[in-house]
């Protein structure tokens, strides 16, 4: 290595060190270990990143759903009282009385999985295993006619499920009302 090169390298290292020292100005907080991150990170993205290993079928889901979910959401996901329906509404979004359910409205199957995994069953959020979550998700998607009776969901197949309202969302065009007033 010639001298000039060495100098540039050292300078680069110095710059990096300075940058690090500058950015962590307060030296507060402790490093999160890989273990801690694994334990706490439950987020799932639409591309499937974050989904754990595991699997569940419609058949298993039918069973798990009846024991864990059906008493609130109804045995066929029809909903009751303040417990939302999990089934139905496809084709109603344009009409006078749109019915928004996970089947008719939610754009990603990963969202259904993530919500159930973190927040359901209502009284014991976060208590489902990955297998149970794959299974009840499969059953709910089956009730909505989105997957077949033989479907098995896992970290590869779940993100591939195409939800009926996948292309039903647009960005925020506001301010919209003023634009209309100005004749635009």
């Amino acid at each position: 290595m010639n001298k000039a090169r060495l100098f540039i390298l050292c300078a680069a290292i110095a710059v990096v060190t300075v940058a690090v020292a500058q950015t962590q100005s307060y030296k507060l907080g402790r490093p999160a270990t890989a273990e801690e991150i694994r334990e706490r990170d439950i987020s799932v993205a639409p591309d499937g990143s974050g989904l754990p290993v595991g699997h569940g079928t419609v058949t298993q889901g039918r069973h798990d759903y009846q024991t864990l979910c059906g008493n609130c959401h109804g045995d066929r996901g029809q909903g009751m009282l303040q417990y939302p329906a999990l089934v139905g509404g496809q084709g109603t979004l344009r009409g006078k009385n749109p019915v928004k359910t996970v089947g008719s409205y939610w754009p990603y199957a990963t969202t259904v999985w993530d919500f159930i995994h973190r927040t359901m069953p209502y009284a014991r959020p976060g208590s489902l295993t990955p297998d149970e979550t794959y299974a009840v998700t499969a059953f709910i998607l089956y009730l909505n006619g989105i997957v077949g009776e033989k479907a098995e969901l896992n970290k590869t197949t779940l993100p591939r499920v195409k939800m009926p309202n996948r292309d039903g969302f647009v960005g925020d065009p506001r301010p919209d009302v003023a634009a209309k007033k100005a004749g635009k």
């Binding site: 991150i37 993205a45 754009p107 993530d114 927040t119 209502y122 039903g168 969302f169 506001r174 007033k181």
Partner: protein
């Protein structure tokens, strides 16, 4: 009266009821020593204003509304701040609470509450408003008083650390474009927020109106995302993940998205647009007779400062400038007032506001013409109160 049959208890009850009716004591000075000191203050027993919430079979997934008609100034007392929870209010021991920042960062870090209290802090006054506030107005079900119609709105002084400081400590990696913020409530409510906003004015707040956050507002630490819909202001903050895409959580897909007449839904409609409401005289109140009344109300905008509030006392035919009370702060509630002499005739009262971007609060009709009746979130139409000859003020 059949005195004879009256038991002692019944007699006492009658006596005190009669007394009660005539029991407003004459004006005067107290003759006895007052109460001694107390460690934590309470309001006067004569003050009864409370949050409103309906009966619910799922009270942990529900809301309560601020009694706007009873408030003065711009700050909502913490005990009256509105609430929306989806998995109840957790009881968190601050000594056992940590916030992890990870994802697309050079140094994933875990902060304790002690760390937060040591970091450089700021205090700022901002409103919080639920995206669904006054949504009933849009679909033609106007509510009877300011609390019922607009009470998912509150305004506090928040103290905490800019989220930017924490993100700089962890050092962002290239490709970082969003964060996912997650609560440490039982349901671990999560929302995606664009990195640009996270680096702009978002606070990781532990203080509310001079003391620690109330549990209902996220004790011991929450996000305050100025001007944006309430739901992204994650309470009981436990985790911030730096990511390269929105994670499409349930509350940014299945909920808080606005379904338009063409069947498409607007997503990531974060900003709460300029809005105002007259809080006095307003629905549910009664004018005791013709004469002078100060009209007062609140105006706010998620896009910045309020520059103008106008009042109409003639059914929207003419509008006059109201006085804006100081302070007039960005993304905070501003109180306006307007002197009014009531002539005893039937009329209506309404307000509209303009923010520093020049945006003028629309009427309900203008709004419905664009957004239809299937969307009920992010509604900001003008609210009208009707004054009747007998002095009663109502919503219709």
């Amino acid at each position: 009266m059949k005195r004879k049959g009256l038991t002692r208890r019944a007699f006492l009850a009658t006596a005190s009821a009669t007394l009660g009716a005539a029991a407003i004591p004459p004006v005067g000075f107290p003759q006895e020593l007052g109460a001694p000191r107390r460690a934590y203050g309470e309001r006067s027993p004569f003050e009864k204003s409370v949050r409103f919430f309906p009966e619910s079979i799922t009270p942990a997934s529900s809301y309560s509304k601020t009694p706007l008609q009873d408030l003065f100034g711009i700050i909502t007392p913490s005990a009256l701040h509105y609430e929306v929870h989806h998995s109840g209010v957790p009881e968190i021991d601050p000594r056992r609470h940590e916030i992890m920042i990870h994802g697309l960062v050079e140094r994933p870090l875990i902060f304790t509450m002690e760390d937060f209290h040591r970091l450089p802090s700021v205090s700022r006054i901002h409103f919080l408003e639920c995206a669904g506030n006054s949504g009933g107005e849009q679909i033609g079900r106007p509510a009877a008083n300011p609390q019922r119609s607009h009470g998912l709105l509150s305004c506090s002084e928040w103290t905490g650390v800019p989220l930017r400081t924490l993100l700089e400590e962890t050092e962002l990696k290239p490709g970082a474009t969003w964060i996912v913020a997650e609560g440490a409530d039982a349901g671990r409510l999560a929302r995606s927020i664009p990195l640009e906003k996270a680096l702009d004015d978002v606070l990781v707040a532990y203080g509310q109106n001079g003391e620690a956050l109330r549990p209902e507002q996220g004790y011991p630490v929450r996000l305050v995302v100025p001007g944006w819909e309430g739901n992204v202001n994650i309470k009981w903050l436990g985790r911030v993940q730096v990511v390269d895409q929105p994670y499409m959580t349930s509350y940014e897909t299945g909920h808080y998205t606005d379904l338009m007449p063409d069947g498409k839904a607007r997503q990531f409609t974060f900003v709460m647009e300029a809005k105002s409401v007259i809080t006095r005289p307003a629905g549910g109140q009664e004018l005791s007779g013709p004469g002078f009344y100060e009209i007062t109300g609140l105006a706010w905008s998620g896009r910045g400062r309020i520059t103008k509030a106008e009042v109409s006392t003639d059914g929207g035919k003419s509008w006059q400038d109201a006085q804006l009370n100081e302070p007039i702060l960005p993304k905070a509630v501003t109180r306006f007032r307007f002197p009014w002499w009531w002539d005893g005739e039937e009329t209506s009262l309404q307000s509209r506001c303009t923010d520093e971007t020049g945006y003028l609060q629309p009427t309900r009709e203008e709004l419905v013409a664009v957004r239809g009746l299937n969307a009920t979130d992010h509604y900001n139409g003008i609210k009208v109160w009707y004054v009747h000859k007998d002095g009663k003020v109502s919503h219709e």
